[in-house]
């Protein structure tokens, strides 16, 4: 079925081609009414205008908008309501955002399920939400026209009210709610042209911020329930290990400890509060059976990657890179490595479950509501309608909170003790039992022609696959996006390009981490390109410009960032610039970092960032996400490293897994390219270019290429 709502411009174009009337009779998928199982909803159903699952307007003039993506800091609680409110012509001051319940109607169209990740919230929902708002507006216009007995064409919707200019009458949406509730929803709607926008493109203050400055925002770890117990779990420090002999006598004697139970992830101590649970856990006496990973360490993992790096499956093969490399007069080779990284969300993993014989409720800061629902159904055997997933605010996500481990903990413990239980991980649990950003080993080679331009590019990747556990059959390893994104789509016009990937998994669990494979591959490709530039005697910016002829959007952000950063003019004494670009999640980003070296360490003073993410929803949120992604990427560039010894993670807390601090944070300037293109992602695309921009500045300062993260001079 074709899409249902169109802009007037599209309509004119289609009508001209087909003789008009095209839209009549098309069903709107946004017509599905809000699910009436919600008791509050059901009670006031005839008073309330609910033209679809996304919005309700009540007689008190409150516009409630349901947000199906998880709010983990990226601003969806505001951006998604803005899309509806724009087409609804709502009065923004009356808009109230709330978390959507679990329901297939709320699935992100990109995933087909309720999930937040891959910078897909606006990209996935923007069309459906605008349609939902436009449907609401059309019905409210009709309701007003009927109230006044005038033609609907003579009515106008604006800022939460419908007015009739000829008679000077107007009615607030709230006053129209009851009549609108009884009207059919239209078969088709028009969407606004960008020139008609009053909200989109404006820096609207975020709806979630007031609750985040007074302590009232409810995170998962803040869930309160009558009779709620708190649990913490002792896990085997070695990956894949299990508890052997357990003596819980001392643990059970700790005041406040209620029970000690074995669950699939380890031994859970359940108590009246976290302090007792933690003390109880420390008092456990467990002989661990470490299993086959007991001797695993970082050196062995790297050695295996190096051994297998040339055995990968080819995912891209333009021209004949092998022949060009063999024939080249000038050839460049390098090995690039990146370590495993932890997500280190500020809120440690947690989940609250109340498992009963006939129902199960889960309160959880999750990026994956549908998966949580399925996990609970699988573990409890309850049908879909007996399992409720209640979303909370997330104290950071970055990919970590799409996992199910903490959910399984809570369900198993609640079931075992027959009471509602909140499981809370310690920071040590969080750092040592993550699903890590993969560490990878990369062999790069390039051939240069006589003018110093790259003739061939070969990138052989070896590392673990994230997606393999979800999609074994779907992809061959050569095109496994979870390992090759950012490398396979090398944007440069080079006649011979070969990219291969060898899947080499280890006992270390891997997972999706902000910007996924682009987080490492942009570093590897953009730094190696600077090596190519240096070998060919080219300026790094000019070489990129020359090679981006087929990538106008990437070239435009490159030029914008370079111009704003003063590329080509001398930097202040002792400062050096590095530049990098990356396309990820359908957005285009360039960054210039200004770096000095002091005390054997790089210091980043200034970052200039240019982004083209298509249509702008909220420019201040885009700026905030660029700042955020840059700081996140700087931690990885300058500090982040998870290492393995004796089958376990060496690091445990912020003393040995440090994060960037305020006094290390550069000045960040963000420039947004105006665009009417479909929206691209915003949460992640700012991360990939920062490590190479900084590393390239360090290369400029020292003359030595940076081939390993974190940067060590």
């Amino acid at each position: 079925m074709p899409r249902l709502a169109v802009t007037r411009r599209e309509f004119m174009r289609i009508s001209a081609a087909l003789g008009g009337g095209l839209l009549i009779g098309i069903q709107l998928d946004t017509r599905a009414r809000a699910d009436a199982t919600d008791t509050a909803t059901a009670a006031a159903a005839d008073e309330m205008f609910a033209p679809n699952v996304w919005l309700t307007i009540t007689p008190d003039d409150v516009v409630s908008i349901r947000v199906a993506s998880s709010e983990m800091g990226q601003g969806v609680m505001t951006a998604l309501p803005m899309l509806i409110a724009e087409e609804l012509d709502a009065d923004w001051d009356t808009v109230h955002a709330e978390f959507a319940p679990i329901n297939p109607a709320y699935a992100n169209p990109i995933f087909g399920r309720q999930q937040t990740g891959g910078s897909t919230a606006v990209r996935g929902y923007w069309r459906a939400l605008r349609e939902a708002g436009a449907v609401g507006r059309e019905v409210l216009l009709t309701a007003a026209a009927q109230t006044w007995g005038v033609a609907v064409e003579t009515c106008r919707a604006e800022r939460g009210q419908v007015s009739h200019a000829d008679s000077g009458r107007s009615l607030r949406y709230g006053a129209l709610a009851r009549r609108a509730a009884g009207l059919p929803v239209p078969e088709s709607v028009f969407l606004k042209e960008p020139s008609q926008f009053t909200l989109l493109g404006r820096a609207i203050p975020r709806l979630d911020i007031p609750a985040k400055v007074d302590g009232s925002a409810g995170f998962g770890s803040d869930v309160k329930l009558p009779g709620l117990l708190t649990a913490t779990v002792a896990r085997c420090p070695v990956f894949g290990g299990k508890p052997g002999k357990v003596n819980d006598k001392r643990a059970k004697s700790v005041a406040g400890v209620r029970k000690v139970v074995a669950i699939s992830s380890g031994i859970a101590v359940v108590a009246d509060h976290f302090w007792a649970a933690r003390q109880g856990r420390e008092a456990l006496d467990i002989d661990w059976a470490p299993g086959p990973a007991a001797k695993l360490d970082s050196a062995a993992i790297t050695a295996r990657l190096a051994e297998l790096a040339d055995t990968g499956t080819v995912g891209r093969n333009d021209g004949d890179a092998e022949r060009a490399l063999a024939a080249a007069g000038r050839r460049l080779e390098a090995v690039y490595e990146v370590p495993y990284l932890a997500h280190a969300c500020m809120e440690p993993m947690n989940c609250t479950a109340d498992v009963r014989t006939d129902r199960c409720d889960i309160w959880v800061p999750t990026q994956a509501q549908t998966r949580v629902h399925q996990t609970a159904m699988r573990l409890t055997g309850l049908p879909a309608d007996k399992v409720q997933v209640h979303s909370t605010y997330l104290g950071g996500g970055f990919g970590r909170r799409g996992e199910q481990d903490f959910v399984i903990d809570a369900i198993e413990i609640s079931r075992a003790v027959g009471a509602p239980v909140k499981v809370l991980w310690t920071r040590e649990d969080d750092i040592q039992h993550d699903f890590y950003r993969p560490g990878t080993y990369n062999r790069l080679a390039a051939a240069l022609d006589e003018q110093g331009m790259p003739l061939a590019w070969r990138h052989r990747i070896a590392g673990p696959s994230i997606s393999q556990r979800d999609a074994t059959a779907r992809e061959t390893s050569g095109s496994d996006f979870s390992a090759t994104e950012g490398a396979l789509n090398l944007p440069y016009t080079i006649p011979n390009i070969l990219v291969s990937y060898a899947r080499v998994n280890s006992a270390v669990p891997v997972g999706y981490w902000r910007s996924v494979a682009s987080s490492q591959n942009a570093f590897i490709t953009e730094c190696f390109l600077d090596e190519v530039a240096a070998a060919g005697g080219k300026d790094p910016y000019e070489l990129r410009r020359a090679l981006l002829g087929e990538q106008p959007r990437l070239r435009a952000v490159l030029e914008l960032a370079a111009a704003k950063a003063g590329w080509g003019s001398p930097a202040a004494a002792g400062r050096f610039r590095g530049i990098a670009v990356a396309e990820s999640f359908r957005s285009y980003v360039a960054q210039v970092a200004e770096v000095s070296i002091g005390g054997g360490k790089p210091r980043v003073h200034r970052v200039v960032c240019a982004i083209d993410c298509g249509m702008t929803v909220n420019p201040d949120t885009i700026a905030a996400q660029m700042e955020s992604a840059i700081v996140f990427g700087l931690t990885a560039a300058l500090k982040g490293e998870i290492s393995i010894a004796d089958g376990r993670v060496v690091q445990s807390n912020f003393h040995d897994y440090p994060l960037l601090r305020l006094d290390e944070c550069p000045d960040i300037e963000v420039y947004i390219v105006p665009s009417e293109a479909d929206p691209g992602g915003v949460g992640e695309p700012g991360t990939p270019p920062i490590a190479p921009a900084v590393a390239n500045a360090v290369f400029a300062a020292t003359g030595k290429p940076v081939r390993r993260l974190p940067i060590r001079l």
Binding site: D214, R427, E627, V631, F654, C665
Partner: protein, 154 residues
Amino acid sequence: MIRLQVNDQEHELTADPAMPLLWVLRDLLGLTGTKYGCGISLCGACTVLADGEPVRSCTTPLSEVSGKKITTIEGLSKDRSHPVQQAWIEEQVPQCGYCQSGQILSAVALLTRKPRPSDADVDEAMSDVLCRCGTYPRIRRAIRRAASIAEKDA
């Protein structure tokens, strides 16, 4: 029995004197605005004020704050009107928001001590409070703004 004054309210507690203030606030008094981040005074998410001084509640035993006046984020103002809260809203500082109680109370302590802090003062007072979302540039701006709001109010 340990006496504790939190946000101008008196409490008498029979808890373990070694129990960290963080868990007293969160699990015994239900004041969940104060957050657990690391448990070993490294991240600052649990920062509260004790007689106006910032303390890390995750490693401060209850016995140590007996008789002191504790201020948590819930007690900073009734209506988000504290200059630092106003500035935080105006500069749109929080993202995920989890660390922000600690950030705000650290900023309050700084501005009490130095109503017009230099950049170096801000660096010194705020660099031990970690933010994974990277709100640091906005925290810097918001502290400057809070200082000028407070000056106008004075």
